[in-house]
Symmetry: C2
Subunit: 513 residues, 2 copies
């Protein structure tokens, strides 16, 4: 793309007021104290239980290279059972090497992110199999959906990351999916980049693609340009795929979000106390391992504990138990001085209805109030994460924008207290037409793009329908409005060449999806 | 009703597992620190601005008796403008007489409530004109709706109050509405009683009816058996109707919930700082007035500040601005050591859809996390409070039950940390069948009555539909399950006689609705 062309685009861009650009791109800080549910004694008990899990029961690391590293570090390694027993001093010493806060670089440096303390960053849905919208039935995701979702992500100022595995692109061969996902993420968006840390090959390719975009020297910096989620195979187990991802990203100084996925009553004892203690043990073991691989490499403590529905045996999302675990998990992460990850739109609903919305809120309110520095799955989920809904994505984007506004500082000054105006209008008057109101009415309040505030008569006459019906119109509009962010032509060619080369090399290679 | 008959009912009751009784009736305490947005300096600035509003601008009290009382107390009274200027020492001295916490008695003493500190109590919707359900169109409310709503309230263990003005019963003459509302509330439910504090006559009748049920001596106790909401006619004004209610309830030692209703940009300057400062001034003036009428009478600081939608000029509910004001308002109430009221289901939607649900969550999460001791409108609202929806009521009841579960203490002990089980199951196992899980699986987690957790295939096959469709079935089931709580036959006759007598006396008398 020529310099001139790029300029034109940038200028045109600034005049577009696409629905999802109703707020500026902006970092979020939560200046309230984080929620806290555990008293000092309870927190200590959970810590102590976790330490005993690590010391007495141990964690399985199902990979020889990992077992070698642990043996080298002095852990008690049971090769036959692939089991590692970790002394608390060893674990805590390693965890202490992890940075408390770090910068996650984005393709557009204006979109660089701070991960840690009270900074809140939103990531779109991930790990999803199906997609649905109101025009077409639920169906397996395809690459076209993947691109569409990325375009919505790029256009939504309230989202901070590209996300990873927004939906499975079933029409792409398994061995090539990561390449196509990353190519799309790095060219259709300019936000902070994620790719699945699934085994050495996928993760290695992601590091190479990050190098093409961000430079060969990214492995020398503790500021990652790439990152991905690691799920423990709970209970108490990291499998080869995950360890491969951890080794590859940590060695390259890229970010790892270590997230045990625990359904209490299935992968842990049914009591949430045990679920959070086990989560803590698993997360700390994973974090310690990243620091053993490379001290100081960026890593995040992930919490993803909720309950099972004991009637159906299926996972239950957006629950009071999950909310408790989110808060308790955040407290534990702060204890060890590492950034925290939780989730935004966990829900069980099959349609973007009231249940989808309220369960989502049961996930995201505790997350943002617990200093979840990385809020995964912050848009789009339905069906416990099996499906991404275009309409639900738009609804969630409205709520993220509301959170961005909510966390902004409210100025308390003579100017905003406006005693002169209160005096002038006096008892029983109204403030509609005052200069103080007139000067601010376009900018003072959050202005929704989806929520409808018409009275009943107007709403009936307008025929705009319910939130899902309106969301259907919004995502179509945004896809029309979409403009690709500028990218250096040589970089783009290099990415495409890399993908073409790797697709030849990986032809027929069996990869984790 | 004979003693025998009543016993039979009580026994039968205990075996009913109606959907809304999926949790026990239970008081709620929020053991987390309250949310806090204002630093000490900002809080001080808001306080100072409020004091200057009271001292320099003044509050209109549009009632001669009120002006007499203020003059007697030493306030600067401008009779011509019905304006009272209040020295800060006078206001704060009076506010200091208000109890920090009090017991609100219920007809069933097991349902007595604690109002103050970290106790959270839920009240149904109030002040509503229309009703809707999925079978019938939106329509003006009728007495049959009123009774139905009360039956749902009684059956919902997560609701603590009868509520007031659940919907306008348009088929009852205006002069009799309060009598029929109260008769229904006091006989169809046994929860804490509310009736509109609208002028001397309505409020006086409510006090009489409370005496019939709770005893003649209720006015001697600071533990109210009755209470109602007072809305300032913002900006800076209490009208005759509200003052009549305040005088009547405060003199009888019944509870007053003093709530300025402020839409920033209309009833106050557009900046939320000014809205909250003005709310604070109005609330303190109202609270001080109740203590001037009767020192120590139970009173609550109400917050109800949100923004106007600047495109339509209509109120905007469930907004980031409203959430900020809820938190700031709670902080101010705590500063003065008085209980706090806020609201639960504020939303603008015309239907019980995702917008209705997420806006509701934007109201209730900040409210319960800000120690709103009385959460009004905690179920049922649609259309900015113009309509109560039967289906929305059921959705909200599910969420209140979830909050009840969420706020319960989670035991952290050797028993719940279950290290022995974690060791026994070991890495890669599962906890479904362990004795620890089996012993708890019926009771450990919140079990929803509305939320559906079926996977997609089962959900399609079951044909249960979306949340609103399922809620429609639930409220019909609960109305079938409803059983009237026992009431002393003599008491009931006395209430009915009182209502009959007052209806004769009030024939043709023009009353506030």
């Amino acid at each position: 793309m020529s310099q001139t062309r790029r300029h034109t685009r940038t200028e045109r861009r600034s005049t577009v007021t696409s629905p999802l650009a109703n707020i500026p791109w902006q970092a979020i800080q939560n200046r309230m104290s984080p929620l806290s549910r555990l008293d000092a004694e309870s927190e200590e008990k959970i810590h102590e239980a976790s330490m005993r899990i690590l010391e007495e029961i141990g964690i399985a690391f199902m990979d020889d290279e990992a077992l070698d590293l642990w043996a080298w570090a002095g852990a008690k390694v049971d090769r036959a059972r692939q089991l590692v027993r970790l002394d608390r001093h060893l674990v805590l010493e390693l965890v202490a090497k992890a940075p408390q806060q770090f910068t996650w670089r984005a393709r557009n440096p204006a979109h660089n992110l701070t991960i840690g303390t009270n900074h809140i960053n939103f990531v779109p849905n991930g790990g999803v199999v199906f997609t649905q919208d109101m025009d077409r039935d639920r169906r397996p995701g395809e690459m076209q959906d993947y691109r569409n979702l990325l375009k919505l992500v790029q256009m939504c100022n309230a989202l901070h990351f590209t996300g990873e595995q927004l939906v499975v692109p079933h029409d792409i061969p398994v061995s090539f999916r990561h390449l196509q996902r990353s190519l799309a993420a790095l060219t259709l968006t300019n936000k902070a980049y994620m790719e699945a840390a699934h085994g050495r090959i996928i993760a290695g390719d992601a590091v190479q693609m990050a190098k093409i975009v961000f430079g060969e020297d990214i492995t020398q910096s503790h500021e990652p340009s790439l990152g991905g989620v690691i799920n423990a195979s709970s209970p108490l187990r990291y499998d080869e795929r995950m360890i491969g991802g951890m080794l590859t990203y940590a060695r390259a100084n890229q970010a790892l979000i270590i997230t045990p996925f625990i359904l209490a009553g299935a992968m842990s004892p049914i009591t949430m106390a045990a679920a959070v203690a086990q989560q803590n043990a698993e997360a700390l073991a994973g974090i310690a391992f990243t620091q053993l691989v490379r001290a100081g490499s960026p890593v995040v403590y992930g919490g993803f504990a909720t309950n099972i529905d004991m009637r159906s045996g299926s996972p239950a999302f957006g629950t009071p138990e999950g909310a408790w675990a989110t808060i308790a998990g955040g407290q534990m992460a702060r204890r060890y001085g590492v950034p925290y990850r939780n989730s935004g739109t966990l829900n069980n609903s099959n349609v973007p209805d009231a249940q989808a919305a309220y369960e989502t809120m049961w996930a995201i309110w505790p997350a943002v109030l617990s200093y979840a520095n990385v809020v995964m799955h912050a848009v789009g989920w339905l069906e416990g994460g099996l499906t991404v809904s275009y309409e639900k994505m738009i609804m969630d984007m409205e709520n993220l924008a509301m959170f961005q506004h909510f966390f902004q500082d409210v100025e308390i000054s003579d100017e905003t207290l406006a005693l002169d105006m209160i005096a002038e209008v006096g008892p029983g008057g109204h403030h509609f037409g005052t200069p103080h109101t007139q000067a601010r009415y376009r900018t003072e309040f959050y202005s929704p793009f989806l929520s409808d505030r018409q009275n009943h008569e107007n709403w009936v006459q307008s025929g705009v329908g319910d939130a899902a019906t309106r969301a259907n119109k919004v995502w179509k509009q945004v896809l029309k409005d979409y403009e690709q962010p500028p990218i250096d032509e040589a970089t783009r060619e290099e990415l495409e060449d890399f993908v073409a080369r790797r697709e030849k090399e990986l032809q027929g290679v069996e990869l984790y999806s």
